[in-house]
């Protein structure tokens, strides 16, 4: 009994902070999404009007589409690359510890700080890549222009993520017992067959979790885009959570946008629902896939 009181005392700081700064804001949003509220003056109850507006908001649905493109592009680049690196670096190879450290290095830096560096690397007018291309006589590419901005943003996101997923794959690979591979090599299996028929299926549950993590992080990411392009040009790189951020905290450079808290809460709720729905669908599909093995 005394021990129970001690336990409450020890968990109290954690519970208190989680409830006030983690749970309360969610209920706050659940309330304001039914209100018309611009951040000052009186909040006015308007029922489901905000949600009707979300349905009509072409800019929001464009940002949802951009989020899917961004997430898809990032996954297609990141996952195969990190799996290949993990498989190679899981074998006895001279210098593999050093290579792992190098590939993991980008993940320790701030995404926003690196975005500033990437701006200097990629900007169309005097960026480092374009300087190099011009010197080679290849002409320059408008990396941050309407046509290629999304691709550039995806490349940068992949740069920051590959090392992380490589490490997670490595942890999964280390759990596959060696004798499976030994038996396979006795049967004369080549490296490609080994990857496809042994490593991938045995990695199943770990893979399922890693892909899930990759999907949810990509759907929610916006920090680096905010610094690099602010969603531009012409909203080409505007992702869901960046659009949401701007409804609460209009950017300095964008004087046209205004704070809209009631509507923002409704957009936040819808976005969370979209992330939840995709996670759920992925979970169902991947479960079916991993059951077939």
């Amino acid at each position: 009994m005394r021990k129970t009181i001690h336990a409450y005392i020890f968990t109290f700081p954690s519970i208190f902070l989680t409830l006030t700064l983690g749970v309360y804001p969610i209920f706050w949003a659940l309330r304001y999404m039914f209100f018309d509220y611009q951040g000052f003056g009186e909040a006015r109850f308007i029922g489901l009007e905000n949600f009707a507006r979300v349905g009509r908001d072409a800019q929001f649905w464009a940002s949802v589409w951009n989020t899917f493109v961004y997430t898809g592009g990032k996954l297609i680049l990141t996952l195969p690359m990190s799996l290949i690196l993990a498989v190679i670096l899981n074998r006895a190879l001279r210098g593999r510890q050093l290579l792992r450290s190098v590939y993991f290095l980008p993940t320790i830096f701030s995404a926003s700080v690196m975005s500033i560096v990437f701006y200097i690397v990629f900007n169309s007018y005097n960026g480092i890549i374009n300087q190099f291309l011009m010197k080679m006589g290849l002409g320059s590419l408008d990396w941050l222009g309407a046509k290629y901005a999304m691709l550039t943003v995806i490349l940068i996101a992949a740069w920051g993520a590959v090392g992380n997923y490589m490490l997670l794959f490595l942890a999964g690979l280390q759990n596959i017992p060696d004798d499976v591979y030994e038996a396979a090599s006795l049967d004369g299996v080549n490296p490609v067959q080994r990857l496809w028929y042994i490593t991938m299926p045995m990695l199943g549950p770990v893979m399922q979790m890693i892909i899930m993590l990759a999907i949810t992080t990509s759907l929610k990411g916006y920090e680096s885009i905010m610094v690099l392009t602010e969603g531009g040009p012409f909203g080409k790189t505007e992702v869901m959570f960046l659009y949401l951020y701007k409804l609460f905290f209009p950017l300095v450079s964008d004087s046209a946008s205004v704070q809209n808290i009631g509507y923002g809460s409704a957009v936040g709720f819808t976005s969370a629902l979209i992330v939840g729905l995709i996670t759920f669908i992925y979970f169902k599909i991947s479960k079916k896939l991993s059951n077939t093995y």
């Binding site: 021990k3 001690h6 450290s101 980008p106 200097i120 300087q131 610094v227 300095v252 808290i261």
Partner: protein
């Protein structure tokens, strides 16, 4: 047979080395560019600076206010790390060692905060709460909010508790220790490796945090941390921006992380895997 082997080895190494170069390239650009003149950054197209401009750092440090940003970053990250360590170690100790009513609820609550995310929406009520407590004029508002997001650290911590046998607690109890002195004298010293890993994870998160300090420094420029101060500089310089100072600033922000990484890269990698397994 031997020929194809040599060939596949070379292809493998070419792939590994090109990938390594791509990973290091932006960091190389930042470090070398921070010693160049602006003209050289924007038109040079050479890797090494022709003459090393060490005064870029002096300029960034004093004129561009990086001394202030650095101090704010250190202050925030240190207190967020200390606070998170203390709170999660205490909570994990109680959850692992005592069967109290509401324990399941507590664990479900923590894991829910990991999965439910409504993005920037929460920043507004969080900020308003800090205004109500009059903490929006200092970095303590940022620090407290960052400490409140400690679910991952908690799950990492509790993973390590499984390695500390309960027999130790019981023996200490017989020797006259109580719940609190067991925590201070037995658990915490044994928890050192865990504290190190969780500290690394938390410090990295706080040091690299951008959005939260950005929101708090909108009306208080003196609260800008390194990522915020650096990102805001991109407005100040305009089209013909002074890239060399931006790069020097980026290096000031990168360097401490890089040093920690070189000294403890194995623990660093353990952090990431642990954070997910947690």
């Amino acid at each position: 047979m031997l020929g194809s082997r040599v060939l596949s080895r070379s292809v493998l190494w070419a792939f590994l080395l090109i990938t390594a170069f791509l990973m290091l390239f932006p960091i190389l650009i930042a470090v070398l560019g921070s010693f160049k003149t602006n003209l050289e950054v924007t038109t040079g197209a050479t890797l090494l600076p022709s003459s090393w401009q060490f005064q870029n750092y002096a300029h960034a440090w004093t004129k561009a206010n990086f001394a202030q940003f650095t101090w704010n970053s250190i202050f925030t990250s240190v207190f967020v790390t200390l606070g998170t360590l203390l709170i999660t170690a205490m909570a994990a100790y109680a959850v692992d060692r005592v069967d109290f009513k509401g324990k399941r609820f507590y664990i479900v609550l923590q894991s829910m905060t990991l999965f439910i995310s409504i993005g920037a929406v929460v920043l507004k009520p969080q900020f308003d709460l800090m205004v109500a407590l009059n903490l929006q004029t200092t970095l303590w508002g940022v620090i407290i909010i960052l400490i409140s997001a400690h679910a991952t650290a908690f799950f990492m911590m509790i993973g390590f508790f499984k390695g500390i046998p309960r027999e130790l607690d019981e023996a200490a109890l017989i020797d006259g220790c109580n719940f609190y002195s067991i925590f201070w004298r037995i658990i915490l010293p044994l928890l050192k490796p865990a504290l190190g890993v969780v500290a690394l994870f938390t410090f990295r998160g706080a040091w690299n945090e951008y959005i939260l300090p950005l929101v708090f420094s909108m009306s208080r420029p003196d609260l800008q941390t390194l990522p915020v101060g650096l990102a805001n500089l991109r407005y100040g310089f305009g089209a013909a921006s002074e890239n060399q100072y931006l790069l020097a600033g980026a290096c000031i922000s990168i360097l401490p992380m890089l040093i920690v990484y070189i000294l403890a890269n194995r623990s660093f990698m353990q952090v990431n895997v642990g954070a997910v397994k947690g």
